[in-house]
Structures are given as structure tokens and as C-alpha cells.
Amino acid sequence: MAAERDPPPPGDAGQARFGEAEDGEDLFVGAVGALESNPSSPEPASLPAEDISANSNGPKLVDSFLDDDPDDLFAEATEEVSLDSPEREPILSDGPSPAITPIMAPRIDSTLFDQALEEEEDNGDTFDICISVSDPEKVGDGMNAYMAYKVTTKTSLSVFSQNELSVRRRFSDFLGLHSKLASKYMHSGYIVPPAPEKSIVGMTKVKVGKEDSSSTEFVEKRRSALERYLMRTVKHPVMLKDPNVLQFLESSELPRAVSTQALSGAGILRMVNKAADAVNKMTIKMNESDAWFEEKQQQFENLDAQFRKLHASVESLVCHRKELSLNTASFAKSAAMLGNSEDHTALSRALSQLAEMEEKMEQLHMDQAYADFYLFAELLGDYVRLLTAVKGVFDQRMKTWSKWQDAQLMLQRKREAEAKLQYANKPDKLQQAKDEIKEEIVEWEGKVQQGERDFEQISKTIRKELGRFEKERVKDFKSVIIKYLESLVQTQQQLIKYWEAFLPEAKAIA
């Protein structure tokens, strides 16, 4: 065994390493073969060092009999990668193995992703796109009515046909877009920004035509949420280049997304899938040997809990501030009546002034409550949902790992079957069976390769995504908090004005 641990020559990268696995624990024989094919790749991808440890999940089983000195294993891996670096490309482009699932498509996109990341890093601030959602208009009547929003895109990016585009969209269009993006990218480990939530109560009020403040509030809440959703989506370099997104922002007519309705066939399928996923999550026990992922997962669990708590606290703040506003209004009326009743003229006037001022304060408090809400609470709501998407991404990785493990298991079984055939004594059927089994083995070897590649890819993607997420989150929060503090400053400055106007009135009481 020791001999097999010599650092393998670059060309035969994996072969020597996994050679010993022949007798039953052979998992990766075919896997590294792909490393050498398709050396041609247009993109000079930047491979961050973390990729190396992504391998660590692979050779887990190899570890078990190369048990001493795992460091050496990694040292090998390091060498491999650094020497084979250009040959790592193939993982990113179309692999030779047959597609097991429609995962193939994103392969291409991930190349674009790397390219886009490069561009972003090189060009810094030329990510120039601004989307606004405005002008909610009710279309139709009764229960079939819906709100149509104007989506305006202002950009200098070349991907778009014009610098300024404007289309009309309804809520289900947004849901349709999200649904398409999710089915395309989620299983590859991309954090797809979640769409705003449906609200049956809210929409019914609007449909029914109630023109009260709660339905206007609802529409405004939704409009703002849709805007944030779109901005978040286009900020993602991969999503930005997705044809669905481009179509959404550009074309005047969009096919109606019927499958987003809760009770449609697609809706029911979604529910079934969700249930299946939940069950799977409980049964898959992944051997996490990558400390980075373990740590990150824990970190995000904590963050999720914290965000939920924060969201609840801020909602309480909004609620209390609204209460303050109402109580101030009530007091203002009472003070006015007291002023009327007061028979000392100057004091009477001062009390009336106090009442007027408190009325103004009522509005001020209400405005501040709105700021509390729209700036703070809604952002937190977004992040609570985003974190669910992040957690989903970890789940996808687990699923990918599981698929890979399953493939390995199948391969093992096939090999066992082959071995059995060796000792069978039905010579006439033997050759045919042997051929069949050999074919199957090749097939499953391919699948195992694919599985490993998928797993590595998703791990790599997730690392990038998490890095991006963290950066975005910090930026987002910082900018929102600054805006929020500025709103508080405004409120305080207005308060100063009001009190300074009142002070001479109070002093004038004689």
C-alpha cells in the first residue's frame, strides 16, 4: 500500500492514486479519467484555493484505508490541482459522460458565472442597472381582477437591447420568473432570490375594490417587495444573463404563468416535491468532512434564528410606534378641548398650540413608523426568506452527495455481479451476460464520475454564492441602516422645529 502513496505523476493524476481501490473499494477509477479529456477550454477560470478541500468529500472512503497521514493525501491533491490546473477546466464545461439529469445546462452558465465574476471584479462599479417597479393599476373587475405594475429598467449593460425599457407585469409573472429560475439553478447550488409572498387576504381586498388605507398599504408593500426582488435577482451575475430574466424585463408580452397558481397541476406537484424533500432531508445522513461547510451551515442556522428574532422585534417597534401616533392624536384632541375650556386667555392659547403641535407629532410618528417598516422590517423579512433559500442550497448539496453515493453503491453492486459471473458456470449465457454487465459497469462508472463532478461543482458554487451572499448582506444592511438612521435624524430635526415653535407660546403665558 505504501508504494501506492507516492505522489502520482501529473499526467496520470488520479489513476495511480485510486489504483489500489481495485479490490472492491474502487470508486474513482473512471472519475479522474475525465480530468484529462477536453483540455481545451476558452475560459481562464480563477480557481480559489478552497477547491482543493472540496475534494475532501470525495476520497472519504479512500481515507479509511490510507488512514495515516491524511495530510499526504491533501498534499497530493494540492500538487494535482496546481499542476493540472488548466485541465480542471473540463469540469466546468460539458463533461463526456451522458447527462443523468438535466444538470447539463447550468454547466455552461457556470462558465459564464466565472466570467461574469471576473468582469465584476475587474470592472468594479460598472454593474449598472436600475430597476423600478411603479404605477400599480388595477386591471379588470371582481375576482378576476389583478394589479399590473410598470417595470422600468435603466441600464448601460450591453446585454439589453436598449438603455431604458419599460413593461407591464402582474404578480404571477414575477412568481413565474422565480419558478423558472429556481428549477434551473437551485439544484446547482445557486442562491435564487425568493419572490415576495402571496397573500390571499391582501389580494382579495384589492380585487373587491376596497379603497381603504390597508389595501393601499398592501399594494405599496407589494410594489416595494417586487422592486427589491428584481434588483436582487439582477445583481446575481448568472441570473442577470439568464434569458428568462431578459425576457421578463424586455418583452412586452409574456406568456401567462399559470403554473404558479396554488391549485394548478404544477402547484400540486410542487407541494408533493416539497414533502418528498422534507422526508429525504430527514433520512439522508451526510458525512460532512469539510469543516468549512459544517461551520457555514451552523453559522447560517444561527443567523436565521437571529434574523427571525430581529424581524419580530422590529415589527413590535412598528406596532408600538403606530400606537404612539394614535395616542398622540387622541391627546392632541383632548388638549385642544382643554384649551377651549381654559379661561385664562394666554394659557388657553398655549394649550391650543400644544394641541396643534401634538397633531403634527402624530403625523411625524406615523411617518417614522412607516420608515421603521419599509426600511427595516421589510428588509428583515426579505432576509428571513433569503436564508431559507441559503439553507435550501445546503440541502441541494446534500442531495447531490446522496446521488453520488447511490451511484457508487450501484457501481459496487454491478462489479459484484460481474465478479459473480466470473465464477458462474453457464458458459453459453456467460459471454452475453458478461458483456451486458460490462456495459452497465461502464454506465455506472460514468454516473459515479458525474456524481462526483456534480458534488464538487455544487460545493464550489456554494462557496462562491455564500461569499457573494455575505458581501451583499453586509452592503444591504449597511445601506438600509444608514437610510434608517437618516430617517430618524429627519424626525428629530422636525421635532426640534416643532418644539422651538412652541416654546415662545409657552413663555408668553403670563
Binding site: L310, H320, D343, H344, L485, W499, L503
Partner: protein, 389 residues
């Protein structure tokens, strides 16, 4: 069980110009709080010879103050005076309830949050405590600065008697049985508005006081609600700040300043409470005391009119005329005395009220401006730090 020993600052916000007559200076320099009971230390400095010593202190409970107030109200001689309203019972219900809730919710908060909430609660306890000391002190000072009431024997006993007053309290209850007070409560509105007024001044006062008392009671309630809502907003910031802190540990030390937001809102709330809500509360009680005076006078007027009728009847029947004349003269004297002193009292009451309102409104405005300016600079500092990091 919480024990506070508190050295109290003089927060004389509701009544001004008290306690500057050197001949009799009263204050409550400290108080002890044990469970529900508050023990006030009443300190007197005097140059009057009626007292045994020039300076002395006695411990008193809230019930002692009530006893003193009630005895004054029941004294016929003082019927023409506005008796300063009794101080309300110390009420720690609100902070106690909050403390209880805090204890229950301790598990769900971070240590930092819990500490901050506890600090806030302790501050609230202290505020209630200070307020109750203040209001008891003001009661005594109103008495000491009144030309007639300051000479009351019971008042002097209250200040000086170094033994427990509870025996005296029981006796008083048995003697008067709170009869007069109960009568006042049920009958004043009807009687005051029912009696035909002969005097313009009192007619005006009556209309004014009846209306004003309803309005000010309402304003007090609304002000209390407003202040409470403000406190809630301030408390929410404690939680928000604590969580933000734990989330953004690495990136933003400026966010640690979020805790000051709680201070910003909290100070505004408590100053508003002290200057506005307390003011309204006090004058609601004071207006009631003024109404009581009107009631007594109305009663006296009714008696006077009845005595006139009785005299006429007696003269008609030529029976007991002298007695009836006597009665009528007494009633008239009583009524006139009440009217004369009542007029003086009500006039000075108005003056006092206007001055107190002015002082408090001005102080409140000035404090609010100060806090707001403070907040602006703190907030802007925080924004700068965030933008630069």
C-alpha cells in the same frame, strides 16, 4: 422584594413658590421602600415657637398623610379654603408587572438584553419612587405655605409627633367616619349646578370648574397612554439593538451605538411624563379640591336660603322667631365667610395653576429640544462612522 433607600432631588414641578418662607421649611430628604410600604422621612426646620425644637425629623407612612388631609377636610373652619389634594397612593404596579414579565422571558433573551431591560426597569422603579416622594412633599409644602392651614394643630402634630400616628388615625376614622367626604362625592355635581347663584364670580367659576375638571381628567388619561406608548417604543430598541449587535459583531462597531436609540426615546418619554402627565395629574386633583370648596359653599348657600324660609315661616306663625333669627344670622355669616375666603382662594388658585402650567410647558419644550439636538448629533455621528467603515 425590593428595598430602595433614596435621596431625592427636589423635583418641584407642579407647584411653585413653596417652601421659601423661612419660618417653616419642610422637605422629604429620603424615603425607604419595603414591598408595598413606603416610609417617608419628613424633615422640618422652623423658627416658630409653637414647635418644641427648631429642627426635627419623623418617619411617616402614606396613610398618615391621608389622615391629615381628611382631618383638614372635616374641619368646619376650613370650609372656605381649598384643601390641597391628598397625595395618591404609591403605585408600583406597572414596574412590578414588567419585572415579572422580564423574569419569565429571561430565557429567550441574550444576557445583554436582559441586563439592559433590568436597568430600564430599575430606572422605572426609581422614577415612580421619586414621583411619589415629590407628590407627598408638595402636599406638605402647600400646607406650610398657607396662612391659615399652616397653623393647624393636626398639621403640627403630623410634623412633630415622634410616635406612631396610627392610633390617632383610628380615632379620627371613628369620629368622622368619612361622612363628609362621602357626601361630597355623591352630591357635589348636582348641588353645585342646582343651586341658583347670586354672585357672578362664583357663577363663572362654577361653569369653568365643572367643564374643566372633565376635560383635564380626559387629558390626563390620554397623556398617560401617550407616554406609555413612547416607553414601549424605547424598550423595543433595547431588543433591536441587542440582536443587531450579535449579528454584526464583526463588521460594525457603530451598530453597537444602536443602544443609544433606546436612551433617546426613553428620555423623551420620561421627561414628557414628568412635565406634562404629572402636571395634568396633579391639577386634576387640585381642580377637584376647588370643586369641593364650591360644594361646601353651595351647601352653605342652601342652608342660608333654608334658614331664610324658616325665619319667614316663624315670623308668620310668631313662633320661635328669635331662634330662627339666630339661625339665619349664623347661616348668613357662614355663607358670607365662605364666599369671601372662597373668592380669594379660587383667584390665587388660578394664578397658581397658570404659573405651574407655564413653568412645566416651558421646561418640557426646552428639554425636548435638548434631547432632540442630542439625538441628532449622536445619530449623525453614527451615520458617519457607518459610511466610513
Amino acid at each position: 422584594m425590593i428595598i430602595f433607600v433614596c435621596v431625592v432631588f427636589q423635583l418641584r414641578s407642579v407647584s411653585v413658590d413653596l417652601n421659601n418662607d423661612v419660618s417653616l421649611l419642610i422637605d422629604i430628604p429620603d424615603a425607604l421602600c419595603e414591598r408595598d410600604k413606603v416610609k417617608f422621612t419628613v424633615h422640618t426646620k422652623t423658627t416658630l415657637s409653637v414647635f418644641q425644637k427648631p429642627e426635627f425629623s419623623v418617619p411617616r407612612q402614606h396613610e398618615d398623610f391621608i389622615w391629615l388631609h381628611d382631618t383638614l377636610v372635616e374641619t368646619e373652619e376650613y370650609a372656605g379654603l381649598i384643601i390641597p389634594p391628598a397625595p395618591p397612593k404609591p403605585d408600583f404596579e406597572s414596574p412590578r408587572e414588567k419585572m415579572h414579565k422580564l423574569g419569565e422571558g429571561e430565557a429567550t433573551m441574550t444576557k445583554e438584553e436582559y441586563t439592559k431591560m433590568k436597568q430600564e426597569l430599575e430606572a422605572e422603579y426609581l422614577a415612580v419612587f421619586k414621583k411619589t416622594v415629590q407628590v407627598h412633599e408638595v402636599f406638605l409644602q402647600r400646607l406650610s405655605s398657607h396662612p391659615v392651614l399652616s397653623k393647624d394643630r393636626n398639621f403640627q402634630i403630623f410634623l412633630e409627633y415622634d410616635q406612631d400616628l396610627s392610633v390617632r388615625r383610628k380615632n379620627a376614622k371613628e369620629m368622622f367616619g368619612g361622612f363628609f367626604k362621602n357626601m361630597v362625592k355623591s352630591a357635589d355635581e348636582v348641588l353645585i349646578s342646582g343651586v341658583k347663584e347670586v354672585d357672578d364670580f362664583f357663577e363663572q367659576e362654577k361653569t369653568f370648574l365643572l367643564d374643566y375638571s372633565t376635560k383635564i381628567k380626559d387629558s390626563t388619561t390620554k397623556a398617560e397612554r401617550m407616554t406609555r406608548a413612547h416607553k414601549n417604543v424605547a424598550d423595543d430598541y433595547i431588543h433591536v439593538a441587542a440582536i443587531l449587535n450579535s449579528i454584526s459583531a464583526e463588521e460594525n462597531t457603530a451598530l453597537k451605538n444602536f443602544t443609544f436609540l433606546q436612551k433617546v426615546e426613553g428620555r423623551v418619554a420620561s421627561d414628557q411624563e414628568l412635565k406634562l402627565t404629572e402636571l395634568l395629574r396633579y391639577y386634576t386633583r387640585d381642580i377637584q379640591a376647588a370643586k369641593d370648596l364650591l360644594y361646601r359653599r353651595a351647601r352653605a348657600l342652601a342652608d342660608y336660603e333654608n334658614s331664610n324660609k324658616a325665619l319667614d315661616k316663624a315670623r308668620l306663625k310668631s313662633k320661635d322667631v328669635a331662634q330662627a333669627e339666630d339661625n339665619q344670622r349664623q347661616c348668613m355669616q357662614k355663607f358670607e365667610k365662605l364666599s369671601e375666603s372662597g373668592k380669594k382662594e379660587l383667584t390665587s388658585f388660578k394664578g397658581r395653576r397658570v404659573v405651574a402650567f407655564r413653568k412645566n410647558l416651558v421646561e418640557m419644550a426646552e428639554l425636548e429640544i435638548k434631547h432632540a439636538k442630542n439625538s441628532v448629533s449622536l445619530l449623525q455621528g453614527c451615520i458617519e462612522t457607518l459610511k466610513n467603515c
